[in-house]
Symmetry: C6
Subunit: 275 residues, 6 copies
């Protein structure tokens, strides 16, 4: 039961709990080995930062398609650490900031972190933080340079910091020398099996058992198993939209079908797409 699992995550005593809590509003469903791995390994990095004497700053990157659940996972790892300082840096808090305001805002959060013996900073949506767009491309070089430096800057003695960044633009990082800047990176999985959809439906409790069974049957019949691709966030929305309709199952199946990816085979789907 995923709810129980979540209860293991008591509120951190850090600064921006509300914001982070809001990121996992719909909880984190353990629908996939990939999700499990990210949470477990994420925890290992938390422990390393807690115990290490030599490495003062560790940074990890969660990347994946839009709606795949990156922010929720990052927030979960951060909150689980129960470090005294936990803070979210997100583009939503910086709308309309000038470049230098952004840099100062970010820099200040890092400096605040250095005052706590143990800290986590979640850098959510780094492509948006640096105002990146693939036309040109354009981006704030000032913010990028600040991040490049901050990701490697050593905290003062006896202060340790874990940085968890998220992005849906893994590709842009290489040309920006940003990928070298992370100590480890994880790919957040998409959902492409009917079985996984079934698991999610079960957890959500918004379909009756018959409805669910019927929906899965329909998906299998349409031979969709392994041929679609949907982020957990989008799946949650589809379930809800469908629930509003009188024709629940049909609307649901239709919406899943719309995420079908041409050329995505049933078996090697994930591999083909993500390497």
């Amino acid at each position: 039961d995923f709810k129980a699992a979540l209860d293991e995550v008591p509120p951190a005593f850090g600064v921006s709990e509300n914001e982070l809590q809001q990121c996992v509003q719909n909880h984190v469903l353990n629908f996939d080995d990939g999700v499990e791995t990210i949470l477990t390994d994420g925890n290992l990095f938390v422990e390393q930062v807690r115990n290490s004497t030599r490495t003062q700053v560790v940074s990890i990157l969660l990347h994946g398609a839009a709606n795949s659940g990156k922010t929720a996972l990052a927030a979960t790892i951060a909150m689980k650490s129960q470090f005294p300082f936990i803070k979210l840096i997100s583009p939503e808090a910086m709308i309309g900031f000038s470049e230098s305001n952004k840099i100062n805002h970010i820099n200040k959060i890092f400096n605040d972190a250095y005052k706590s013996p143990l800290s986590v900073i979640v850098l959510d949506n780094i492509e948006r933080i640096m105002e990146w767009i693939d036309i040109g491309p354009r981006f704030s070089n000032g913010v990028l340079q600040a991040l490049l430096v901050l990701l490697k800057r050593k905290p003062p003695k006896d202060r340790r910091l874990l940085i968890i960044a998220t992005t849906s633009q893994r590709g842009m990082l290489s040309s920006m020398q940003l990928d070298d800047a992370f100590d480890s990176e994880f790919k957040v999985p998409m959902i492409s099996r009917v079985e996984t959809v079934g698991f999610v439906l079960e957890q959500l409790n918004m379909f009756s058992d018959e409805e669910r069974e019927y929906a899965l049957q329909r998906l299998h019949k349409k031979n969709l198993d392994g041929r679609f691709e949907i982020g957990i966030k989008k799946l949650l929305m589809i379930v809800e939209v469908a629930s509003q309709s009188t024709n629940k199952v049909e609307k649901f199946v239709q919406a899943i079908s719309a995420t079908q990816v041409p050329g995505l085979g049933a078996d090697n789907a994930a591999f083909q797409r993500y390497t």
Copy 2:
């Protein structure tokens, strides 16, 4: 009778009613299944926002050629919702604003919306809001980034928001990662059948029945059925210009002819052009 239909839309009790009312000054004629669909489905999204407990923000996009009636449709859906907060964000209110003024203006309207339990924001003409032009291309990256973030930003608890955006530049959205940002999108139809023109003429009551009949006959004779393409806004103007002339029908037929699209067949017109 379209007038009756319109009477179903009592004034919303929101903020920028005047502005929105002005957008549908000439009412919305139900000339096409496409129009029907947009209004119906639009309404479904309104209901989802009204009832949902999980999805706090939903965004839809109306795109179509210039003069196709995008703004009027968006305004109609918005006003019909009768949500307590309904607001128009349009380039006309931001002439001469600096980039940061624009961002602040837009951001403020979103923040205002977050204060109402249920809100609709109409983002009219997003290509003009971000000062986009296909030479370069040039556009305000600052405004684009703000929109990218605002379209996905979660309102505070118990606040829900519907965003209806319009654009005549659907093509530019992909390269801007803006299409992923919308939950659903609709194409606003153009008029290309003589029959539809007849329907509009009838509703408008500016031609006598004979004049109308004669006009349609002329259009059919010129073999124009399915071979022209005109937006409802332009059609309304043509009717009026022609009405000023002593030679009403002739002027009208001539103007419709001028919108003929070479290579547009009678049957598959809409499909050929819009896929």
Copy 3:
């Protein structure tokens, strides 16, 4: 007699009469059917604006080569309307303005117009207003965006506006989405027939009848009919320069010859060049 024709245009009671009067200082000679059409059709649009109940803003574009007489024609149509508000927006009044000053200046004139029940705005030389140059190209995107919005912005209720714009850079408009923004456009004709030159000379009264006859004879002999191309403004200047010389006719013929266009045939000249 063109003077009589002009007397039909009594001074408008609008704001920038002086400026506009100056634009037609040398009056408008009815040398060509094209000129006639522009004046007549221009008047029709004036009437539509005056009478319409639905269309509140109408915009037309006069385009043509340098010196073809665009500004004089636009000013003539505007003054003839005798609308209570008539105003010229020209680059000459905005030398040294910053981009935002320009936009404010233009916006203010539109807002002033909205206060009058009936208004005409002449947007002279739009390529210069937006500081356009075909190297790059460069232009003020801010001004362009303002124009794009202003050309379509609806005046408040019961206010109607006619916009007459001129440009010698018709080509640049498409890439700027500016051509869609106009409801109608007219090409201002150049002079390329010896006969037209004769008409202009006659009206101007600066050559004796013999001189004129001799000049036309010479032009015909040089087989120039239909093979040259000259704007009315340049023609007026050439007449005057030649008049200063002791060798009037010779200088005149020489100057006309200099405007010869290689490959321009006598018959299809206008068509070949302007499509």
Copy 4:
């Protein structure tokens, strides 16, 4: 005798006489038919401006290679006019000006001119005034746009203005629509005949007759006639540098040789290079 000719140019009673006087410090030698033509025709334009009733502004352009004597010729025509307002606009007076300072400075001089019934403005070195460089290219679009407008702006009633511009970058004008802006243009000639060199040497009186004869002989022997190309300003400098040396003639011949242009034939030199 060129000195006598110069004495025909009494000081104008205008504003920036000193500056202009300095431009023709070394007088203007009538070494070529081209020079003669420029001065005569320049004078005709002066007369037209003086007498015309219709054309209030006339603009001419002197273009030619560096050191060809453009500024001196422009200044000479301007001073000879004896118009009550004569003013030089040159990049030397605007070093370090911001773009808007430049535009204001230029605009102010034009506005001052409009206060005098008859004026001449010399726009020296327009490529430098607009900070043009052929890398990019880069230039001040603001200054260019101001010039484009000012060259065509009509002075107030009863005020007339002659504009004389110079440039060594004739090529750049077309892409800037600046060539259309001038009513007439003249090419300032270079020196490429030994005979012309002889004429200049004679006028300058710095070589004895024997020295001059010997120098010309040497140049002919080296078969240089028509194969070199030198501006009058550079020629004057070479004469002076050579005069400082003990080996006058040799140094002089050597310097002339250095300006030899490969592939420049004796007869069609000027044509080949300048068309």
Copy 5:
């Protein structure tokens, strides 16, 4: 024993000792001839600056891959000099600085150095100092120009200065004329032999002798000798991460394997990669 070696480096009496000390927090292990050379030759340059009468400013460059140990080596050489003025210029101290702030900050440190008879300045991470990124590329030309000048600017009489710069972007220097600006340059070596790994493990004392032996055995078995490539900084981190795990050796071997470079042969590895 590397600890003993380190004790030879008593604290300098200069200005930014803390910062520099922090750079070599984990000491410098003499794991390679290349390291030895850099330290020895670096010392020679220190001596030259100390003794020279003619050369007042000497600059050297340490370049190498990320994590190769550049900063630690530069700091070590600097501190060993015991010059009265030792200062670090690093991007970390300039986050959020404007371009002119950066230039002033850097210039001030150089000017301070000129006040001491003997000085060392460590310019750490010059690509970051000039905000360089290989998209465009973009960089602060102002900072680059300042560095180009400062690297060659002569101190006042009797003042001598050693500049030690580091970069991981050796390639970008040529196009920036920055490589000519250094008097000497050194490549900081990566680790690619199992034997070197063994040496480092031994020095660090975090593995028991058996663990170490077993780890090396495993690396040899996997035929990794000469086929991987790892910076000393990363190696130190890997050791520590592995130590946190219950499965120390396995985790360690796995992490080393991950740095394997395809196509890197055992014998000529270093040569193939670095020339």
Copy 6:
């Protein structure tokens, strides 16, 4: 003896003597005919400026590879003139200046020069003054335009000015129209003969005669004559570095070898490389 030669250069009574003196701190060794020519011809230009009545401003350019001795030669010519106003414009004095500060600084020095009857201005390192870099390329167009104007601006009556500029980027000048702006230019030679090295060693007196002989022998044996290329400034440094070593000659020979240019033949070296 070069020291004696130098004594012929008594201190000028001008303004920035200290700065200039510092540029020739190590004196100027007459190691090459090219050096001789530059000093002699430079002097001729000094004399021309002193005596001329017509040419008020003369400008010369010294260009050559980095370290070839350009600044020292320019300073030497300037100081030898003993003109009452001698001033150095160098990038070192303008670090961190904004573009307009630079232009004002430069312009002011020129204006100061115009107050003295005879002046020399040394414009050292013009590529650095205009912040030129060959990526883009980028440079300060404002500074470039100011230089283009200042190099040709006539001083007031009875004031004369010699401008000596240096650059190591001769190639960039053409595209900037800067080469036409100079009246004469000189290439500063590099050293590529063993014999010249011998001459320099002898003058410097830092090697014993045996050491020198042995060094030259070694260079010949390595067949380096005419195959290397080194600037005098670098050669002076190499001598000094080598002198610090116990293995003087060996270090010296090694350093010279490092400057070997592949494909540079012994005989036509200088020609091949520098034309």
